[in-house]
């Protein structure tokens, strides 16, 4: 089974537009949306939920104000500044700051601190007219530790095995931190969607370093390349120097914007120059993956 991950470093370069189009072009695959705190792939795949599962995050500490004797041991040991003294001399844990390390629980002399189970999000298995989709929703403000991403990938892998599919297409999160690293480990190919801007290239450079760090093949596609042809050429030269390849260029095409606005993959219906470029990109990507 092969796994293709679509990343960008910088947000908003067109990951989901490309992933949605690939969903329509590829056969025999399972889809996974690993951008769990701003998931958008469902907006163009019109999924019907088949399964809903709760996702529990690492429990955070809570102080029972009745039991709290105000000794302040929790505040002394907490390295994250999570325990705060209230007006009445009692302590309270800031739920947005607490990392769930449990050190305060172990030092509290009054046994006032507990770690209640907490619902941090949900993940879903859905059907779409392009195949099964595993996706998730992290509650806003929750810790995106990569655990929900790992859960989505595990479910997608099991589903692909069960359905006898030979490919998983993963829409990834922006950045290079926790959730990206959780999306990246063990995939066969990263397709990096960039744009011809100074920020697009800067973030691509950091993403390429990350994929090297984990020893994973990365190929580049430049979206909206014709908005700045000179900058696109510069990205191509950069890729050459770094021993990777720009395997596609997608022109700016209002048709792609309209397809997204209509909630459809851009390669369905009448294909403009943007959609044509994505079709030929898919040919190259699928060839490289050997699917």
């Amino acid at each position: 089974m092969k796994q293709l991950l679509i990343l960008s470093g910088k947000g908003g370069t067109g990951k989901t537009t490309v992933a949605g189009a690939f969903a329509a072009l590829a056969s025999d695959k399972v889809l996974a949306d690993c951008d769990v705190d701003a998931a958008d792939l469902h907006l163009i795949l019109a999924p019907e939920r088949v399964e809903t599962h709760d996702f529990s995050a690492l429990p955070k500490a809570k102080i029972d104000p009745v039991l709290c004797s105000g000794g302040g041991m929790c505040a002394e040991v907490c390295r994250f500044g999570g325990a705060q003294r209230e007006a009445e001399g009692k302590y309270r844990i800031d739920q947005f700051v607490c990392e769930g390390c449990r050190v305060c629980v172990s030092v509290c002399p009054s046994g006032a601190i507990s770690l209640p189970d907490r619902l941090a999000g949900q993940w879903f298995i859905s059907t779409t007219r392009f195949g099964s989709l595993v996706h998730a929703r992290l509650k806003p403000g929750e810790e995106n530790s990569g655990k929900l991403v790992a859960q989505v990938r595990k479910a997608a892998t099991e589903l692909a095995e069960k359905e006898g599919k030979n490919l998983i297409i993963i829409d990834g999160p922006p950045g290079i931190g926790c959730p990206v690293i959780a999306s990246l480990t063990g995939v066969d190919l990263v397709l990096a969607v960039t744009e011809p801007t100074v920020a697009g290239q800067h973030d691509l450079e950091r993403l390429l370093k990350l994929s090297r760090h984990f020893n994973i093949d990365l190929q580049v596609v430049i979206n909206k390349w014709d908005l700045a042809p000179g900058a696109s050429d510069a990205i191509e030269r950069y890729a050459d120097r770094e021993g990777t390849t720009v395997i596609g260029r997608i022109p700016f095409d209002a048709g792609l914007v309209e397809a997204t606005a209509a909630g459809l993959p851009s390669v369905e219906g009448r294909r403009g120059p943007g959609a044509e470029a994505i079709v030929s990109l898919w040919e190259k990507v699928s060839h490289r993956l050997g699917v």
Partner: protein, 280 residues
Amino acid sequence: MQVAVASGKGGTGKTTVAVNLAYVLAQEMPVELLDCDVEEPNAHLFLHPTLNEMHEVKILVPEVERSRCRGCGRCAEACAFNAIAVLGDKALVFPELCHGCGGCVRVCPAQALREEPRRLGVIQSGSSGPVSFVQGRLDVGTPLVVPVVHAVKEQSREKVTILDAPPGTSCPVVATLTGSDYAILVTEPSPFGLNDLKLAVELVRELGIPHGVVLNRAGLGTEEVQEYCHHEGIPILLRIPFDRRFAETIAHGRLLVEDFPDWRGEFRALWDRVQGGLKV
């Protein structure tokens, strides 16, 4: 006063708004820009600051003194992050998973754990003309983002602070927004922009931060974002139309307010609307 520029969706124009606003305000008051998107810091590409100070962000991570470790496994039990395991008869630390809470050191009965600093990234500061500038850069391959965001915010010195937030709505965004007096939420008129704006609004409401919306690439796409804002009573602070010339300016790392001086007034007016929306 701290004003954070955030968005659920990436690539909507957070950095564009943050750098142009900071530049315009700096003409009349001391302003600092803190780039809290430490995974992919981009504000420097537009402000071209001179960075003359740098320090490393570190957390304390345990190291095992093998001669002392008895392999009792208390450290592994205490670790909430699965960053320690006992393999064979000795504890083994996975430093990239460690949050640096110090819990393992407390429970070790053999004093076999010693804490050593581990680098997560760097904080760089300096200035760009009249704008004071601070950014964090997470080391590539490091998953732990939040301590670097906190370290950026610790450098805050000025009365007026513009924070350029990371995309999304999870912990690095919370770390950026906490303590802010106002959140400017930048979005675009697409179904993705709307979906992710709703998530961002949910977050700032939970944090109790006054907020308004900047609609970027206005005119391209759908009306849904404006309808949503109207329905929810969220002010639209500024509309930036889609314009290929703007795209080119941004692509080359220039400021809109430099290439299009008319826009200085627009960003100044944005600031007035932010002031008007503050909690009194």
